[in-house]
């Protein structure tokens, strides 16, 4: 399709299809924030995180836990509430270009979800392994757990929920019902958090530090498989985007 003078003018006036600034800023939020968290662990893990009965443990770790709980509930409420409240009630009437733009915004959310999943399921989870091979716990709320279970997992739940809600409320491709694999890829990893209940229950009965592959941990494994639901999400997206671009790429 040839570009006309009108369409060139329209291009200059309209919003870009992909807001690169949002994509970069979104990624930097996770990288910088988790860089700071890792610095905090390095400094206060050894100096204040070894004995849960010590006053400095309360100061540097329990207060961290209380603050993150409050911030997570507030962030989830505000973010999910905003996405739902500002939903498009005429989503099936948008132009193809607007739909394409929204797919790019959706993928900005999914890139953020990828960062959040990486830090939660990979970085901080294996880190917990080496910490508890070194430091035997005297509480459920150890420095590595306060970061892994109660910070990095809620953050990927909040990000995944936001991504799902964005797709559901703004993209025509997701109006035929609830995408089963999107639900799996968001709800599955979410279930890792309730599974912490089983984990901590087991750890209060037995010394399980010896074996990271202990059956007590298999709940995490099962729900970790749900990350593969992203394959279904990719397939839905490829179908929707192909439909939008097909005749121009032919």
């Amino acid at each position: 399709m040839a570009a006309t003078t009108e369409s060139v003018k329209a291009d200059a006036a309209e919003k870009p299809l992909l807001n690169v600034r949002n994509l970069v800023l979104g990624s930097l939020v996770y990288i910088i924030f988790y860089g700071w968290v890792r610095w905090y662990e390095g400094v206060y893990g050894w100096s204040a995180g070894l004995d849960s009965f010590a006053p400095e443990f309360e100061t540097y770790w329990m207060n961290f836990l209380y603050i993150e709980f409050v911030l997570e509930v507030c962030t989830a409420g505000i973010l999910w509430g905003y996405i739902w409240k500002s939903r498009d009630r005429k989503v099936m009437s948008i132009t193809p270009r607007e739909e394409l733009r929204r797919h790019f915004t959706h993928w900005t959310w999914l890139v953020c979800y990828a960062w959040a999943i990486y830090y939660g399921a990979s970085y901080f989870t294996e880190q917990d392994g080496t910490w508890h091979q070194t430091i035997v716990r005297d509480t459920d709320f150890t420095p590595s757990h306060i970061i892994e279970f109660y910070l990095s997992y809620p953050i990927y739940i909040i990000t995944g929920g936001a991504s799902f809600l964005y797709a559901r409320t703004r993209l025509p491709a997701y109006q035929q019902g609830l995408s089963l694999m999107y639900l799996v890829s968001v709800v599955g990893p979410f279930m890792i958090l309730p599974n912490v209940g089983l984990n901590e229950w087991g750890h209060t009965f037995w010394f399980m530090e010896e074996l990271f592959v202990a059956p007590l941990h298999y709940g995490f494994v099962f729900f970790g498989w749900a990350a593969l639901g992203v394959l279904g999400v990719v397939n839905i997206e490829v179908q929707a985007i192909s439909k939008l671009l097909k005749k121009d790429l032919a």
Binding site: I117, Y123, E126, W131, L178, M181, V213, L231
Partner: protein
């Protein structure tokens, strides 16, 4: 939505948009699969992967391929059968190794001070390349499962041999015979020190020495065949684009 309208202004823009989506999809797929695969692998075979004194000739050789062929089989089931992309297994292993290496350096070494030559991850890349090449050449699930799965198990130990061999050199320490890897473990005591939890390599084949690793690799390859089949169908299930009625919830 009007069918007469186009989402893009020109063919060039359509191509650019398509390429941009390719990168966004690849990035997201890579890191989400990395997260799921890493938590699966660390909690089903992690201890054998974390420490050199766990990297024996029997259980490490048996366990690691069996639990690690899972995600490659599932991702191949999507990328090959839907898009004819012959790199599902390699993408998974690259992701896993990136996650592991970052962790071993920044956390195992950087936070708890275990030297990297004591806690480096296993090399799974040779098996992954063979798995992808067999699928690409044969285009067959059955051939990939049987030949690729078996090769995945058999190649694991040779693929790690150049790294682990220097640490399996025998040493005498305080009148006891052990490997250099065992000695590393004695110097870096953990809650999971294998002697403490009696997960050390044992059995009659060890007494005679030479055949432990090949037998373990063969057994591992046999189970890997079965696991490949199973996870191929898991991958197919996860790749579906089904929508469910919201009233059901």
């Amino acid at each position: 939505m009007s069918a007469s309208q186009s989402a893009v202004r020109s063919r060039a823009e359509a191509v650019k948009v398509s390429r941009t989506f390719d990168w966004l999809i690849l990035f997201t797929l890579f890191f989400v699969v990395l997260g799921g695969y890493h938590i699966h692998y660390m909690l089903t075979g992690g201890d054998w992967d974390f420490w050199t004194d766990w990297k024996d000739r029997r259980l490490w050789v048996t366990v690691a391929p069996i639990v690690s062929i899972t995600f490659p089989a599932a991702v191949q089931a999507c990328l090959w059968y839907r898009y004819r992309l012959p790199f599902g297994a390699v993408v998974c292993i690259l992701g896993l190794l990136l996650g592991e290496w970052v962790n071993r350096y920044l956390n195992f070494w950087g936070w708890t001070y275990f030297p990297v030559n004591f806690c480096f991850p296993s090399n799974l890349m040779p098996g992954a390349i063979v798995l992808d090449v067999i699928l690409m050449l044969s285009g067959s699930l059955t051939v990939t499962a049987v030949v690729g799965g078996l090769a995945y198990g058999l190649l694991f130990y040779p693929g790690n041999w150049p790294v682990i061999a220097p640490l399996h050199v025998p040493v005498e320490y305080n009148g006891m015979m052990m490997t250099l890897a065992d000695l590393q473990g004695y110097h870096y005591v953990r809650t999971g020190t294998p002697e403490y939890i009696r997960m050390v390599e044992k059995g009659t084949l060890r007494t005679f020495g030479k055949d432990v690793a090949p037998v373990s690799a063969f057994f591992s390859g046999f189970v890997s065949i079965i696991i490949y089949f199973l996870w191929h169908f898991f991958g197919k299930w996860f790749a579906q684009t089904t929508f469910v009625n919201s009233e059901n919830f």
